[in-house]
């Protein structure tokens, strides 16, 4: 009887201890690699260090005058535009855009996350995050792995987005450790991470509703960072850098903020508008 108890106890201890190096554990791939049997990496969905899925609402505490209403023509404050961009923007005619079917010009990826509204993030498949917006009813697909960069890739408002998880580095300079750690205490496992997204193949559009342009050459790099607070609130900051050699003197840098909502009850699909 005592032997049975010993075996059961050993098994339980083993399960607890070996958990981290089971096939889904973080140490498994390393151990297998050390044995000369490299394991296939986990799919991005399973490897996600942060959970972005759900409904998020944009919180407009910044640039209110340019986001919550259609700003007046010629108001370019804060945007490092080139003289060529100013010429284009000075010719802005929203009625003409609307008539030409270009009412989504200010809903392209470089501006979309700053448009007041809600976003719904889901996994389309194991390698693709889908970001839908109710404002403008747009869909961004953030694809992990190699993205198509062929010259004939069609240009769209949302372009081609290549995604990559950024996870915390395992090695830390000793002096950054704020507290002493005894030899028999394991160091805490790194948590969190962020999502890097690089978007190309964009169709030319507007950075600001009043016609401030970006060109087809624009490249956007984003970092998506989530903060889950002890009180249950979840916040999302999207650090956004847009580079455009044609229309920007330096990179356009903004970091829109979102707050997580419990469900989609406030989801309000609204088509693009060039005038409002």
């Amino acid at each position: 009887m005592s032997r049975v108890l010993l075996v059961v106890a050993s098994a339980l201890v083993g399960l607890i201890l070996v958990g981290p190096i089971l096939p889904d554990g973080p140490g498994w791939a390393r151990l297998e690699a050390q044995r000369g049997n490299p394991q296939p990496p986990r799919v991005p969905r399973a490897a996600a260090p942060i959970d972005l899925t759900g409904y998020w609402v944009s919180i407009v505490t910044q640039d209110w005058r340019w986001r919550m209403v259609t700003p007046r023509k010629g108001d370019y404050q804060g945007i490092p535009m080139t003289p060529e961009a100013a010429k284009v923007a000075n010719a802005w005619d929203p009625a003409k855009d609307e008539a030409a079917g270009n009412q989504c010009k200010s809903y392209g990826a470089p501006a979309l996350m700053s448009v007041p509204g809600r976003i719904h993030i889901t996994w389309q498949d194991d390698n693709t995050l889908k970001v839908e917006t109710d404002a403008g009813m747009q869909t961004r697909l953030l694809r992990f792995g190699a993205a198509s960069t062929a010259a004939n890739t069609p240009r769209t408002w949302q372009g081609v987005s290549q995604a990559q998880w950024l996870t915390p580095r395992p090695n830390v300079p000793l002096q950054f450790r704020p507290a002493d750690r005894t030899a028999d205490t394991p160091p805490p496992r790194p948590t969190g991470g962020s999502l890097q997204v690089v978007t190309r193949s964009l169709r030319a559009g507007y950075l600001r509703k009043n016609g401030v342009p970006y060109s087809e050459s624009a490249v956007m790099t984003e970092y998506w960072d989530v903060y889950k607070r002890p009180n249950g609130e979840e916040w999302l900051t999207i650090t956004t850098q847009v580079e455009d050699p044609q229309y920007l003197r330096t990179a356009r840098l903004v970091a829109p903020i979102f707050k997580k909502e419990p469900d989609g009850s406030k989801w309000d699909p609204t088509p693009c508008s060039a005038t409002w």
Partner: protein, 309 residues
């Protein structure tokens, strides 16, 4: 033998567990974000600020001439000014003098913002009755590569450069996310007195080798407005509904006054529905419009000028 196997197993587990991740923040971080944090021409511009009724009343009673009173001239901005002020963030690592391990991060002060010492050694915040300072009391902790810091015990101060205030009961939570040479700071300000919901702002900084700053030095009050010295009891202010600049944003941008005075509902997308039928786009911008820098002047003509091609 069994004990030996168990020991090996434990060693494997620990070897397979990476260490906690942290980043170096040392250096000068130049403000490069292009948002309008703290920037406004009009004295009453509370757009998108989730002010409570008390917060709005406080903001609308404020007269910037109050800063000329002797006792207020050396009043500093609160910690939130790190997000809305114009200067770089200068991070210094403060090591423990004995172990040389990280004891705190210090964000150096500016001429009108006190330094922020982010204690990393797990010390608790003081009692709520402890003295408050302009810089407050801040503790920090790593979450992966992100530094999270919480500031309490700061004095009352303005959070949009004279256009809204936080009280001495406010709590500021910072998130420092470093991606390469870019640092994004997210600030979540909570205040049971002057805010109805958290006021959240972000700012983007870039590591620079040019520490162009406005250093924190001693402040000495002087006589700025003779009227305040002739009558020390005078506190410049505006009575309710009497702020002379109340309508400037509405006149300039056609934005309804109810939005100009802020409130939590004004920061949510659905507020646009309330604006849609009231807003008419104003005439094109003619002053302070931004845009590309003016073209350089034409080269001089005449003697001494470069020959024409």
């Amino acid at each position: 033998m069994r004990c030996f196997r168990l020991a090996v197993l434990i060693s494997c587990v620990f070897a397979a567990t990476p260490a906690s991740a942290q980043l170096d923040l040392t250096g000068t971080w130049q403000r490069v974000g292009q948002n309008d944090n703290g920037a406004s021409r009009e004295p009453v511009d509370l757009l998108g600020m989730p002010l409570s009724a008390d917060g709005r009343a406080k903001a609308l009673s404020y007269d910037i001439a109050a800063l000329s009173a002797t006792e207020r001239q050396c009043q500093m901005y609160p910690p939130f000014y790190a997000l809305v002020g114009p200067f770089p963030l200068q991070f210094v690592m403060v090591p423990d003098p004995v172990t040389q391990k990280l004891l705190a991060w210090k964000i150096l002060g500016w001429g009108d913002r006190d330094e922020t010492m982010i204690w990393m050694d797990g010390r608790p915040h003081p009692s709520k009755n402890a003295p408050h300072s302009h810089g407050g009391f801040t503790t920090g902790a790593w979450e992966g590569d992100t530094l999270t810091a919480v500031t309490t015990h700061a004095k009352l101060g303005d959070i949009k450069r004279h256009r809204g205030f936080s009280s001495d009961r406010a709590t500021l939570t910072y998130r420092f996310n470093r991606h390469g040479d870019t640092l994004t700071v997210t600030g979540i300000l909570e205040d049971p007195v002057y805010l109805a919901e958290p006021f959240v702002l972000t700012e983007i900084f870039r590591l620079t080798t040019n520490p162009n700053n406005f250093p924190l030095t001693a402040c000495e009050p002087i006589e700025e407005l003779p009227t305040l010295h002739e009558n020390p009891a005078l506190v410049p202010h505006y009575l309710p509904g009497k702020h002379p600049a109340m309508n400037e944003v509405t006149e300039q941008y056609n934005i309804p006054l109810e939005a100009v005075v802020g409130g939590p509902e004004t920061m949510y997308p659905e507020y646009r529905k309330k604006l849609k039928d009231k807003y008419v786009m104003p005439p094109p911008c003619t002053r302070g419009c931004g845009g590309p820098p003016p073209a350089p002047p034409a080269p001089p003509a005449g003697r001494g000028a470069a020959p024409r091609q």
